[in-house]
Symmetry: C2
């Protein structure tokens, strides 16, 4: 049987949603300062989680696939890639995506160690930025390890799962 979207033993899991606007808190408010936010307009939110076994080798393929697969609506009504559009990208680190329901509890035994996740995430954002900037759009991203306070407006999220 076809293995829809997923891999047998993924090392990275991503969920993609189209957006008209997405706004993410990158610094919580404290006594001295209001919360800091980043925002994109039309484009894509990618939630990303690295799993055990993930190395930097996987990153170029991930970036190429996520940015080049045709899942954005064009103004003409067809589907084009984020780079074709070109649309902006909001990268949201999302360790919860590595979870597995065991009875009533979610377990995260398969997530990479935090320091490895941070390194992979940072490099993933850099590679996305190179490609998206070259296409004429922008990349914003969440702070790894933070609470990802997020507001999204969509004209249909067209949620996709892509594993690597």
């Amino acid at each position: 049987m076809a293995d829809p979207g997923g891999c047998a033993n993924p090392v990275a899991r991503t969920v993609l949603q189209q957006c008209l606007e997405a706004r993410l808190q990158v610094k919580a408010p404290d006594e001295d300062q209001e919360a800091q936010w980043v925002q994109i307009e039309r484009g894509m939110v990618v939630y990303v989680c690295f799993l055990k076994g993930a190395t930097e080798d996987i990153l170029p393929k991930m970036v190429s696939t996520l940015l080049n697969v045709r899942l954005c609506e064009s103004s003409a009504g067809g589907t084009v890639s984020l780079l074709d559009l070109p649309g902006s990208l909001l990268v949201v680190p999302q360790a919860t995506l590595g979870g597995k329901a065991k009875g009533r509890v979610m377990q995260y035994h398969n997530n990479v160690a935090k320091e490895d996740g941070l390194r992979l995430y940072t490099r993933f954002v850099e590679l996305c930025r190179q490609e998206v900037t070259a296409a004429g759009a922008g990349v914003r991203h969440g702070t790894y390890g933070n609470r990802q306070v997020l507001h999204v407006k969509t004209n249909g999220p067209c949620t996709h799962l892509v594993e690597f």
Copy 2:
């Protein structure tokens, strides 16, 4: 290796996100009428897609798992289930979740036939409604086959993938 969140041959794929507020268009505007929306406050958005091989037999387990697994934050800071909270549920049919990237194109060969998907979706919503209503909260849901114009505000989506 553990199979995080996923199944080898899933018949249903769900993505869960916590929300503070979520608003979904259930009828597009036309000449006679403004758009119609449904809305939930604090609770969970579940994006659901049925794949080939799915039957009604899977639905009770899906509903039980999704509503009872502890992935919502309680006011006390711990994690509780949607029914424990109790929080509201917004069900969003999302056929795109069955997609698989093949080169630059997303393919949906593994999705159930549309009429089977509608039947399963309708029954899934009914079963969710029984449980959530009994716990004292509400269920809202999208119109199967429609464009799912969706706005979500989160205090951290805590995105989870759960397959069946």
